[in-house]
Amino acid sequence: MALLPSSGPVSARQDFRYRRVMAALLSRVKDVLAGLVDPQLTARIDALPRGNLNEFGVDPFGFDPETIKLVAPVLMLLKERYFRVETHGAQHIPGQGRFLLIGNHSGQLPFDAAMVGTTVLADAPRPRLVRGMVERWSADLPFVSELFVRAGQIVGDPTSCARLLNAEEAVMVFPEGAKGINKLFAHRYQLGDFGHGFMRLALQTRAPIVPFAVIGAEEQAPAVADIRPLARLLGLPAAPVIFPQVLPLPLPTRYRIWFAEPMEFKGAADDDDEVVAGHVKKVKNTIQRMIEHGLKRRTSIFF
């Protein structure tokens, strides 16, 4: 901890004035941002479960529902105007209680995670906040780390996941991990290897699994090659060559998000690998089928 060398006491009046100006400015900014949000969405954010909040307005991990109101305008703009998300099967998202969202990961940048989270908040029968797992290096980024924590996103860790599920929260996991999001355009819509961690977590916490498939994210940033030595040099998971990359923005492809019925599995969290692999395969097959079905139904990538 740091102590600032004291440079004389601040006068009470000066302090008071500073506080008043700051408070007025902050409330003005909040009003402007709140004005951008659809009142219906504000009502849904207010209806989020708040049982875990303490007297400081945050849950044990630091999530504050009020922060969602600040980021919602941007996310809704992306969802409604940029990716024009089309949702199928939102009725399968449980209105209460714990569940795990498991799906395919793609698109070089995690816009798919943001869009699934926004869709669940805006389109599910009852609003739920999805707790996503972020990469651990994001905790080193100023402002970003703070925003992630306040918006309910946490650094991926099995104990944190188990704790959230036991507190009846919704947790989103991409079992393919970084390999899924960094796959080349030639391998689009081919599911990579699924880890077993999510299934052991589901068995341990008796949480149902809601599989989902995102169609459209694969084409937002088509990677033609991955320069491995450069990635190693920069300490990144991948260094994709994206074509036609003119802007740091993804291409405005149309997202189609499909949700399947919740799947429940019985067994022990420490079951043998073969047993757990069987369960994992069922989830993977469900997602694969949804992807194939979604691709067949799709008439255009952009419209």
Partner: protein, 319 residues
Amino acid sequence: MATRKPPAKDRRSTARLVRPRVLVTAAASSLGRVLCRRLHRSYDVLAVDTRPFPDRPKDVEHAEVDLRRKAAQTLIKKRRPDLVVLLGPWHDERPARTAATLESTATLLQLVEDIGAKKLVVLSAASLYGPSPTSASFLSEDAPLLGGQRSRAVADAIAVDMMVQSFFWKAPATETVILRLVHVVGPHLQNLASRFLRQRRVATLLGFDPMMQLVHEDDVVDAVALALAPDKRGVFNVVGPTQAPLSRILAARRAQVVPLPGFLLGPALVRARALRLTRLDDSELVHLKYSCLVDGARAAAELGFVARRSLQQTLVDVG
């Protein structure tokens, strides 16, 4: 061990008729003083520290001695405390002095074994787990102590914690308890966390707002009292009732926050330390960057410890 004479039974039993005797090390540190003031109500307190303890309660016996010296050892062997409270170097409020810390801890553990004390309670710290990108996951007592890579003071405290952990199997007859406390704050404390919160202007790291766990000094004393009860042993995290972001804690303290970018604050601290303006080093900045959250469920289940002072109350009480 084998040649040691059995304790003089009659003398000990008369002593027990009066009150059990408890030895408190680093008793003149601010937390040690708070502890002695509370424990003397139910125990005969023998306070040991090289520093003076002028405002001690009248019935507290204070020995201004160094644990490594013969005088201290003779005194402790003579008084034969039934219970021993070891304040780890984290709560000692003196600059890191590795050799002295490790030697006096080793001496004390040997003494505890020699006099056959029934209980050893060690005050360690949750900071030893080390704030890191992954430490916001409510670490259990089994999590590794990884905080020592950056700071010598933490490395010393970890060494003491490990020595006591090996004491569990070395002297199984002594019930040993390690309490790993989150940042302890209170009106009587002069430790870093309390001084930090008392500032009117506080420097923080721009763009970072970690979750903080605090525990009130009186709750720590309660935890020690519970740990001193018979049949309790093991390692326990001691936490306050809730946790909150640093910014909201400082807002509740009505402090004026001065967010500084890390590339300024780190070198500024290094410079200030070189000029002897502060004893802090830039390794302490990790506390302002990452959350380090620990799980206090084991202490609640096995010790029956639940912090009674709310976080709001704790912040008001800091003074």
